[in-house]
Amino acid sequence: MPSHAIELILSRQLADCLSVPVFIVDPRGNLLFYNTPAEQVLGKKFEDTGPMPVGDWGSSFYPHDEEGNPIEPEGLPLVQTLQTQLPAHRTFWINSLEQKSTRISVTSIPIIGRSKDFSGAMAIFWDNELHL
């Protein structure tokens, strides 16, 4: 497998250093990397799963609105960024591993390197109830 673009590699290195969950996906939404805090969201360790197809991870944390209605994939910031190659942001709820509904804010940004190619996107999950 050819190595990833440098902007993806450096994104992973940044994610490795952050204390909030970070997900990095390729242009098709396949999950290339998630950091240790993100393992708490997915309930899986990157060392165990490696990269995951979008179908295996996209709905695993049950994104929903305040009334508990599921949010369709196209309503999620990361999916929007993949579709538009633009930053996106939204506050919504996910289910934690203990099935507790947690209010989070998600910011996603496109990863476009010096070659101007769209290499993927990075999503940062902010737990609004957590004080770092």
Binding site: M1, P2, S3, I9, R12, R114, S115
Partner: protein, 277 residues
Amino acid sequence: MRVRLHGTRGAYPTSSVENQTYGGNTPCIEIIEGSQRMILDAGTGILEIDFNRDYPENRIDIFLTHLHMDHIQGLAFCKPLFTPGKEVHIWGPGGSSEPLINRLNRFLSPPLFPIPLRDIPSKLSVHELSEEPFTFGDFEITTKFISHPGPTLGYRVKSKSRTLAYIPDHEPIIGKEHLYSEDEWVSGFDLALNADLLIHDSQYSKAEYPGKIGWGHSSLEMAAEFCSRTQAKRLILFHHDPAHPDTFRTKMYEDFVRGTHYSFPMELAVQGTEIEV
């Protein structure tokens, strides 16, 4: 394929008597196969090239990894640029919001240099490289952006018989002791994969590196691990720190070698040597 090391020193040139073992010129190497020649980087090492003897034709091509001063400062005194009738092509990293020629012009113009690029008497062409493979004569060249501050390319040069990887400034993993276990997450991996010769940054000792995190350079240990992971067949340890006497650098290398068990040959780069690949 032969490689001539005209400059092996990082950061700044040194004329200290304590730096004569590995040489004081900043990076420049030449790749030679048959009548084909290729110049990589234009540190002060480029001033060692005998252009009258080795480049009798009018056209000269210089390939830059990046624009840090130690890799371009030889351009200012590179004779072909100031020879009317010569055609000089400079190739370097694109990927910046500012064109490469403008970035070069910051250095090659007043007040840092008396003559602006537009007044240089040779016919100058500047070409921006990205990550598209291309050919240069008989050489097949692959460039990739690598982990180093600012737009920086590593080169893989393949001739009919041999492959060389030139990655003189590189911090493949930042602030960690080892590379990621997955090859696809290793900066520069494709450039060096199975290369016959890898010329790689190795500025620091393992003990020095924690104080230099993010500066864009490797320790000896990191360079060797990178070589091992990419299965390059031979390693030239490059970009010596001019702040250290060469006796210190030699001891640093000997201490490092004593603690390793790599099977590939490796050595410290020595200015003026020619290596048969």
